[in-house]
Amino acid sequence: MKLKKRAVHINVSLNELTSVLKRLFEHLSDVNYDYGAGADAVVWLEVHGFAGISSLESVIEGLLAKSHVPTEIVSGEADNFEINAGGQTLFAIAPVAIDLGISMLSRSSPFRISIENATNPLALIPGIHRVCSLSASIVAWWRDTEGSIFHVVQSGASGEYPQYQRFKLDGDSTHARAHVTVVCSSEAEDLGELLPDTASLECIESVTASEFIERHAQVLAAGIEIDASSFNSLCEIADQVLVESTDTSRSGAGE
């Protein structure tokens, strides 16, 4: 009889996970990108129940194999931009895209950004949370890769946490585009009008601001439980930024 191997879990702190991921992104980005923001996004997702580590793992091989691809604005109008992410993860693109959308509000509100050819759209949620304290309102939506789930995230009225919903899609849904849409507005009241029509869809998950706060509090108290082999794999990549030790290098710390 073949015994199924049980996964071993370890508890890590937020700070510990963030530090590992910062080093990991530092290694991946070749210092060409804001590794602190990438790490924060993964940790945010993991802490708030969105499997940030699995999301990162799903793209890690691609990240290790590829060099940095510049984010390209392929078309631009007075009230919208279309960005080609070149197959990159939104862990890298989301902060930049959201920054761009908010900055364009001085020229046109609402302002729409379509992001083509990007992975990990969930990474938009921490990006939106980051700007909840600003006066702008944001809503983003996308279909997952299987095409059966429709995701909507909008900045919270409280200014603290965004609100997130998942809907089940019918086969003949009109929400069929594979891209991610981000709409920013300088008026909070506009948000309702900006939201996609989900009235006919079955909502299968809704996370409110208070639930996000509760999830964060739980993790803060007990730490994050993650698969030990996943954590070790991430550490191995992160450790690539470490420099081999020699007798000479030991003297570079004092003695």
């Binding site: 700070n15 804001d34 920054d99 908010i102 900055s103 730490g223 420099v243 000479t248 710390a253």
Partner: protein, 556 residues
């Protein structure tokens, strides 16, 4: 934020150790030894239980044999005389067993979110043995021998803030208000190592000579601190926590500004300052270091302090404001003396400081403002980072070193560029250079498009996003950045170490090189048995005590 001035800071009344001890003494914390299970050589386990504001905590110690050849202060060591953990709640046998299988491993072990601090320490072998031998012989140890070192144990690492699975700082801050100030739990762990060092020495003396041994005199205990060795790791910390550093320096500046604007040099204050100056001079006289540069600095400081003491005496009748005194020493003494006098002025005015104690925390978060125009960003850099733009990075040695993390426990080290391996993995410590690169790209971008926003600049130059959000966030934080080129071949990291250590509250800086420094923590502080007794809070600038036996003329 001049690097040399930072490197002259002294511990002061709002340093973290001072605040911790004040809290312990005024809130009547109760510290009890609940387990002291050591063998004849002093190896085994000990637990101290703390009751503070109704909550219980435990300091759990594992004392081990350490082969002398394995003794090292470096973070890369992997064996120690003692290892310890400070955790929330009480501990039972099962908990101690679980901790015992991890705590002695330090970085190689895993602990949990109920733990606040993981630490280790090594004996000062000569001092420790001398104390045990003396006590076993029924005598007090020689103060002159003890004074040259000042401690029985020295810590070589004190970890907190979520390392190795421990509680995150946000948890410590929100769940344990007793330790909701920066490094408060870490400082408490060091304080408890100090207590253990006395208890272990006394225990061993009794084991060696049950009928003859005497306890260590309390005055000597107070004089003995806990040693510490600090290396390069603290330097990147300062660079990576600019908002926190800004706050610490700002509070220090506020304290001094309040003294200057709200107080006058009354007779009482002048007398207190005079006494404190004499104590500080004696303290400096007693510092023993092999570092010739530090000895010279200490000698100059003593000499200048003596001169200022004389000046104050002559001027006391006509001195109308503290500002006159400050103006005088600022133009007549060295930076070290100036900082010593600033420290003393704050020390004698506790009435202006109380509300500042809870201002030492700040959330370290850098937000990018994408709506800012690129032009405005350029103006901020030109106005706030003129110091950084003034460096010529094409000149010889301007990028002479690089900072990196070694694979050995991630120890931060300095490498020589173009000679040592690792420049391709250097840490982002060279803020001045990053600002320069960003500024050059920004100017070029503005030539192309004069109306660009920061967001548009970043989308073209994502490599500058990190430094841009730092620059924007620190726009209103004048003390956040260390105004030096930390990549210069002649960089003096020792200044950074001393700056941070002064906020911790350590004294007796003994630089061992430009990369690391030995120092003493809690020297002069009350001991556990003093809690509950009258407390003067005047343990700064500790000096060798006069104990009863000496008063009677007994030789040591």
């Amino acid at each position: 934020m001049n690097l040399e001035r930072l490197g002259r800071f002294y511990p002061y009344r709002l340093s973290f150790m001072r605040m911790l001890v004040r809290r312990m003494m005024t809130a009547n914390w109760k510290i009890e030894q609940t387990i002291f299970d050591l063998d004849d050589d002093g190896y085994g386990e000990a637990v101290y239980e703390l009751t503070a504001s109704g909550a219980k905590f435990s300091f759990v110690i594992f004392s081990n044999y350490l082969d002398p050849s394995r003794r090292s202060d470096r973070v890369i060591a992997d064996e120690w005389d003692m290892t310890a953990v400070f955790c929330a709640g009480t501990v039972d046998k099962a908990r101690i067993k679980a901790l015992k299988s991890n705590v002695p491993l330090q970085e190689r072990g895993r602990i949990d979110a109920a733990c606040l601090v993981l630490t280790r320490a090594n004996k000062s072998v000569r001092n420790f043995e001398h104390v045990v031998e003396s006590l076993a012989a029924g005598e007090q140890p020689s103060l002159s021998k003890l004074a040259s070192v000042g401690y029985l144990y020295r810590t070589t690492a004190v970890y907190g803030s979520g390392k190795f699975g421990m509680a995150d700082w946000d948890k410590v801050r929100t769940h344990y208000p007793q330790f909701a100030r920066p490094f408060s739990a870490e400082m408490f762990a060091c304080y408890m190592i100090r207590q253990f060092s006395f208890d272990q020495a006394e225990y061993l003396a009794v084991r060696r000579a049950p009928d003859n041994a005497v306890p260590l005199d309390n005055a000597i205990k107070r004089y003995m601190g806990i040693g510490n060795a600090t290396g390069l790791g603290m330097a990147p910390y300062l660079v990576n926590h600019p908002l926190l550093i800004d706050r610490w320096i700002e509070v220090r500046e506020i304290a001094l500004a309040r003294v200057l604007s709200l107080s006058q040099p009354t007779k009482k204050k002048l007398a207190r300052l005079s006494a404190l100056m004499q104590k500080a001079i004696q303290h400096l006289k007693e510092i023993a270091t092999d570092n010739q540069a530090q000895n010279k600095i200490n000698a100059t400081t003593m000499q200048e302090a003596v001169g200022l003491h004389r000046w104050l005496k002559e001027m006391q009748a006509s001195l109308a404001t503290w500002g006159q005194f400050v103006d005088f020493f600022n133009c007549s003494t060295s930076i070290e003396t100036q900082e010593l006098m600033n420290t003393l002025l704050v020390e004698i005015h506790p009435e202006h400081l109380e509300d500042l104690e809870d201002l030492m925390c700040v959330a370290e978060r850098y937000d990018l403002d994408p709506t800012m125009s690129a032009k405005q960003l350029r103006e901020i850099i030109e106005s706030n980072y003129a110091w950084a733009l003034a460096f010529d990075f094409n000149s010889a040695g301007a990028e002479g070193v690089f900072w990196y993390r070694s694979e050995e426990k991630m120890e931060p080290r300095l490498g020589v560029r173009d000679t040592d391996t690792g420049a391709d993995r250097e840490m982002m410590v060279g803020i001045a250079r990053s600002v320069r690169l960003c500024y050059d790209a920004l100017c070029a971008a503005l030539v192309k498009s004069n109306n660009a926003s920061v967001a548009e600049f970043i989308i073209e130059h994502p490599q500058h996003r990190q430094i841009v959000r730092r620059v924007q966030t620190l726009a209103e934080s004048p003390y956040g950045d260390i105004r030096a080129n930390l990549l210069d071949a002649d960089v003096q990291p020792i200044h950074l170490l001393r700056c941070k250590l002064s906020f911790f509250g350590v004294s007796k800086f003994d630089p061992r090189s430009r990369f690391w420094v030995r120092n003493t923590m809690f020297q002069g502080a009350p001991v556990v048995s003093d809690i509950g007794k009258a407390f003067e809070d005047d343990w700064c600038f500790p000096t060798v005590p006069v104990i009863e036996a000496e008063k009677k003329g007994c030789p040591h």
